[in-house]
């Protein structure tokens, strides 16, 4: 199963959490080595985001993300996992699990 892992910030963490966060390179080596990583990257902050809609046939382009929240999406990864537990396990080893938060969103399969 494929999961989109959204990597977000979260101000609610301690310095001890930050100190305990594993190295991101180590995580990357681990997921690519295990053949679980499809693609992933960092993203510029929501100040660089642009929202696009077409309403009544008219293109509406606005500055900013879908919704203004305290948490920013700062990156994403696509994981190919056996099941949710495996994806949770991989997410739990990401440094941003300690200093931010990760959201796992399953892909909608073609035949679903």
């Amino acid at each position: 199963m494929r999961y989109l892992m959204l990597v977000g910030t979260d101000p609610d963490h301690t310095e001890a959490d930050a100190a305990a966060a594993p190295d991101i390179e180590e995580w990357f080596g681990y997921v690519t080595g295990a053949g679980k990583h499809v693609i992933g990257d960092r993203l510029r902050p929501s100040s660089a985001a642009t929202t696009v809609r077409v309403r009544g046939g008219e293109l509406l382009v606005t500055d900013g993300p879908f919704a203004e929240t305290n948490e920013w999406i700062v990156g994403f990864d696509v994981l190919d996992c056996e099941d949710l537990d495996e994806a949770i396990e991989i997410a739990s080893k990401h440094s941003m699990a300690y200093t931010g938060r990760l959201e796992l969103r399953p892909f909608w399969p073609l035949d679903g």
């Binding site: 099941d83 949710l84 396990e89 796992l104 035949d111």
Partner: protein, 411 residues
């Protein structure tokens, strides 16, 4: 029903009671489809009711039901497959055809336990975990669960559907958790069972409490060496043993202090104490549920409130607070301190909690009443009545309020 059919119906009912969970759990593992598993079992039951009166009850009724339900699953999946082949269903077909419904080896590999891990997965909302556990593991109908939680059958049906959909769509696997996650996942199962029990206890809903005890009993069979599993089962048995004395003939609540201890269920107390002894025998330091079972045991073995070993109860609450601090445990500790050192000390312990809890006004009111501070007690009882969570609780507090407000009692 004719006379010839009556023993058959009893044989079917007996086989279903003994084998339902094993059959359903194995089918869910293979097909990943909760509804299909239930439907196939229902189909097997109907076939048994038709066939057994003529053919006779088979030598192994449970095995007959298992095989029939499995064949039904195979048929249904084959028919579905011609419409549209899904990878998962193709795999299930292959497994069913291979007769691969036997459990894998290992203490955590029993299909029934895997089903519990799945239903109680932390990625599911708590209300969904509770509902699906009652439906799939305990075998309750949607209507029964809806009634127990005071919602409509349609609402409960929706909740169950959303929970099953989350399992399928999020890819929650039907499997044993990784070894380093096992303790936390067993704990998640225990939390669901305990919640089912406390829901039944708070609302004096005996059915739910009894289901919870069935579930904790099942867990002691599946994980006989887990001290917290034993601790939870002991706790539920000991708490439930007091049930016959918790209400009077009119259905009004009676507090522990005033209960007629002869009405406690002696057999349940004995079973609870034996289970608690088994938990202690594991040699592990007491956990969250075992500590609570120790407290329940100290209550149930005391001849009366005056003979209760309050110092040891306070020590157990201190250990609980160190393990999992919560206002609820702190409040129970304050009650025990009130009995050990007197109401003034209990009140000081209540003031020291520094957090809100729905039962706090009631505990304060009782301590003030026992301290003879009637006016303050009356005010606290009024707060407590307003905060009461159930009708019987509210009526008990109103009775107390009228006792402390009664000028005739002022002498």
């Amino acid at each position: 029903m004719t006379d010839a059919r009556r023993p058959v119906a009893a044989a079917v009912a007996g086989a279903v009671a003994a084998e339902r969970l094993r059959i359903v759990a194995a089918l869910i593992r293979v097909t990943g489809d909760f509804d299909l598993a239930e439907d196939c079992l229902q189909d097997a039951i109907e076939r048994a009711l038709q066939r057994w009166p003529a053919d006779g009850v088979p030598e192994n009724p449970g095995a007959w039901l298992t095989t029939t339900a499995r064949r039904r699953a195979l048929d249904v999946l084959r028919r579905r497959q011609t419409e549209r082949t899904k990878l998962r269903e193709a795999q299930a077909l292959a497994e069913l055809a291979r007769d691969a419904t036997a459990d894998e080896p290992g203490p955590y590999a029993d299909d029934r336990l895997k089903l519990l891990f799945t239903c109680c997965h932390p990625a599911l909302p708590m209300a969904g975990r509770v509902a699906l556990t009652l439906k799939s593991v305990a075998g309750l109908s949607t209507r029964q669960i809806a009634r127990a939680f005071l919602v409509s059958e349609a609402t409960m049906g929706q909740r169950l559907l959303r929970t099953k959909n989350k399992i399928e769509h999020a890819g929650i696997g039907f499997r044993v958790p990784e070894p380093h996650r096992l303790a936390a996942r067993v704990d998640a199962v225990l939390a669901v069972v305990y919640l089912i029990f406390t829901e039944g206890y708070a609302t004096v809903h005996d059915d739910l409490a009894a289901e919870a005890i069935q579930l904790s009993g099942l867990l002691t069979q599946l994980l006989p060496d887990d001290d917290e599993v034993l601790g939870l089962h002991a706790l539920l048995l000991l708490q439930h043993a007091r049930r016959p004395a918790r209400t009077d003939a009119a259905g009004e609540l009676i507090t522990l202090e005033d209960q007629d201890r002869d009405r406690w269920d002696g057999a349940a107390i004995e079973a609870g104490l034996t289970t608690l002894a088994a938990a202690r025998a594991t040699g592990r330091p007491p956990g969250y549920y075992r500590l609570q079972a120790e407290i329940a045991a100290l209550h149930t073995t005391a001849a009366g409130p005056g003979e209760t070993d309050w110092p040891r109860i306070v020590i157990a609450y201190d250990a609980l607070l160190a393990l999992r601090p919560s206002p609820s445990i702190a409040l129970n500790r304050a009650v025990a301190v009130g009995f050990r050192d007197g109401p003034a000390a209990g009140l000081a312990a209540v003031e020291a909690i520094g957090a809100d809890h729905p039962l706090l006004p009631a505990v304060r009111a009782d301590l003030l009443r026992r301290a003879g501070r009637r006016q303050e007690a009356a005010a606290a009882y009024r707060d407590a009545v307003a905060a009461a969570r159930t009708e019987p609780e509210r009526r008990l507090l109103e009775r107390r309020l009228s006792e402390v407000s009664d000028p005739a009692g002022d002498t």
